[in-house]
Symmetry: C5
Subunit: 90 residues, 5 copies
């Protein structure tokens, strides 16, 4: 899983039908200090993340993510909202 | 999913038969501000995207993308056309 | 497999249920000389790695990783703790 | 799919048996203007590409690539030879 | 497949049981001129590669790699030892 921050949403009226009814969020990947790291991606959200929250996401869809459309072509998903990161000196 | 922009098309008369009848487009990956980000790729298009449009694409084929040839060796597909991107300050 | 170092843990109370009861660790990818190499990731730990230890991890889940929740959406796992790296001149 | 150029061949007498009888080519990934982009890779060729030709390749093997050994551990394959690239100004 | 060079071995007494009895090697990815390219990885070796040899490896495990433990969580494998690379001017 990777660290990211929810930074916005997209609007897409023309899309493949399997994406209907999915909540899509724009994720800015971040490092463990919450600084931007690479280009934003689009992920499906099933945990109710809001803009500004730090989340963790996966980049290949696993069977266990509960989606309204089980065969949706989703390659990134928010799986948790990060409350706190504890880092040791290293 | 990733952000991209349709920038052109390819011509390939010698190819594996499973690619026949697929509409292939050249995608320039872009960041959330629509600036180029990395080298262009080739994606199959099933949503009717045109050159110049901002789209979102996936990079591993999912079973639900409706293709004329279900076993086509496609590793990138346009799944939606972006109408608008709403970004929060962050 | 890749080299990494365990550098901390995360706290996430809101997450998909399949992640409950998994031990998640923050991994700093390192090169073979144990220097940081890229952004930290989050991996599931089934071998009991502790903060500060050098480990090896995989980035796509394989069926044989024993997890309490077999369908957990996990895309990185610690599979071994490195005792020693022997490098030849090259 | 990605753009590449065939730049050479490899000789490997010791290899896993499933690679026997496969035509392997060295591919230099290129951008849409055919300039080198990253390190060369090795891909299986089923379309008869020759050195110097611009091709498109996929990086995960799909079931429909006709190979003499169906279970060959191949993670890149040439799937078409590019005749022409049409790019719009953007 | 990618080019690499065997540069050493690892010692890991605490690991998931499925990794027992596998020969693991440290691989330095190289470009086609055999110069280092990125951070070393750990790969399973079934072809008897020795330190200093140039090899080709795959990064997702395919069913046909003969392993003592068929469900081992291996995401990189040496599949051939390179005798010679023939490159054309380009």
């Amino acid at each position: 899983m990777f660290f990211g921050k929810v930074i916005g949403t997209i609007w897409a009226t023309r899309k493949i039908p399997a994406l209907n009814n999915l909540k899509l969020q724009i994720i800015q990947p971040v490092d463990s200090r919450r600084l931007p790291n690479g280009a934003p991606i689009i992920a499906v959200d099933t945990v109710g993340a809001g803009v500004g929250e730090t989340i963790c996401y996966i980049t290949s869809r696993e069977a266990s993510i509960p989606l309204p459309e089980p065969f949706a072509p989703v390659d990134a998903a928010i799986v948790g909202i990060i409350d706190r990161i504890d880092l040791e000196n290293f």
